[in-house]
Symmetry: C2
Subunit: 333 residues, 2 copies
Amino acid sequence: MTSSNSEPPRLGEFALIAKLFAPLAAKDEGAFGLKDDAARLRLPPGDELVVTVDALVEGVHFLRDDPPRLIAKKALRVNLSDLAAKGAHAKNYLLALCLPDWIDNAWLTDFAAGLDEDQARYGVSLLGGDTTSTPGPLTLSVTALGSIPSGRMLRRKGARPGDLVFVSGTIGDAGAGLELLRGKASNLPADARDYLIRRYRLPEPRLSLGRGLIGIASAALDVSDGLVADLGHIAEVSDVRISIDVRLVPLSGELVSLWGSATPAVLRAATAGDDYELAFTAPPAAQSAIADAARAAGIAVKQIGRVEQGGGVELLDEAGKGIAVDRPGFTHF
Amino acid sequence: MTSSNSEPPRLGEFALIAKLFAPLAAKDEGAFGLKDDAARLRLPPGDELVVTVDALVEGVHFLRDDPPRLIAKKALRVNLSDLAAKGAHAKNYLLALCLPDWIDNAWLTDFAAGLDEDQARYGVSLLGGDTTSTPGPLTLSVTALGSIPSGRMLRRKGARPGDLVFVSGTIGDAGAGLELLRGKASNLPADARDYLIRRYRLPEPRLSLGRGLIGIASAALDVSDGLVADLGHIAEVSDVRISIDVRLVPLSGELVSLWGSATPAVLRAATAGDDYELAFTAPPAAQSAIADAARAAGIAVKQIGRVEQGGGVELLDEAGKGIAVDRPGFTHF
């Protein structure tokens, strides 16, 4: 981990970073104790590297008062979720931290503790990074590194007419959790409220499921922009039409308690984003293999639609009629 | 390149980013046109990955009014310099961009043009990235990826008593350039002034030299914190003492015109930072191989000192007497 010329002037912070972050890099010899200009990663013979980066900004992706432990975990997990969508084995990450003046030692200690817990949970370790000061909001970027046997990576491209469409877990929970965090009043029991908020704050990257889908799924991605928007990405790059039955979109009991289960609730769930579930396509013959992979990963997987010739994403109601979607997700397209 | 849920609202920006950045990723099939969740990098058999990340923040590492083309190049080059220090072959980079409201299409176009020029110059290409909005200063991080035959990476650790100490190019130019940019009055001719400012704004990663030093240098790094501070890093991790003869530190004619060549000028140059030259150690028997590598890379390399038993960095004056250094560079240690 290098430090820029202009690190924050707080006494002891650099020593503290060394003390807090070097242990996170101790497991991997290629991190060189964060004391070199660059790190080294050796891949198993025949594997290729899978790499992704995401930036998180205070006031955009999290709030200043959010627990540092959760900020750390979310930053790591959204990147691991990208690796999961590729079927990759997660190995390492790099961390670039831009620290404003208000960050103190207690904040850094809790932040590092969050990383430590998730390193153990996902079997990854810190490989390198950079720390600098910023006159603006706390900003961090995580680069996640994984490996996969050469040529086996799951892609967004590859869905074919006749394939079925699947999604893991439940959809919309994170969107509902964000609504609750923003102060939406509800009669939800405390545990349901906690569940939905936790789904927003702490996504669960589906790494085991992703690895289990290698050679089975024809296309895959993680649902971050919103189910409809993300399936639109698959439809676009695969040059197919994706048709979703709104009755089949999996909703949690907690979400149904808050929003109900009628079509407008499903539409909201399917356009809310931040789910970090895997959505994927596969031929009908793969259904039992998918069930096996889901069982092995310990996560439900549900068929929600079909791949057809054409383009775009269509949602069908109970009567099989198309539903207009004004805003498929958060991204503009 | 993925986009966050909260991208800036300017019309057409995302389309513009796709239009500007996708061409930068066109050369490498593993970037998947920036349309997937993660990218793929295949290494030559027997090679290992070399990876580094650096963040740059407006108001800390560059100014808002700096030409976007130069910001792009500096962000890329400081990372390539880290790869150069390892002897790595530079291959790809990832870019995380946090864009404030004031960034417009003209800014982005010039920024992308800078990346395009340096991609051609260094034979690298964009592999992936992330774009988000920020309420704060423009912030970017670059993750650089390179490869090297397994086990051959140059390290900061490895200097041995009896080795000689070398540095490429000239030292202190960037520090003088920054001083001029900050408004320091001088009688320098315009071309000397331009040279020094350019050395600050546009470092030149010594990739060819780094590759040429594989198997020759016993320890290496790039000079970013300041020559004395950085040699201190080598001394620390190699557990040796490094002794520098101030008369041997290479200064450009332009720097001498501004600061002179007496010991205080050399001290300033050796503690200024941002040089991005390579400093390295090697046994005396390697001198002709080093001269060959320098010639092949087209850059001067000069012996400036010796490695001894002990610890720390010592600067010796004309009489061989130690010179006190209050502040060896910009980092605190």
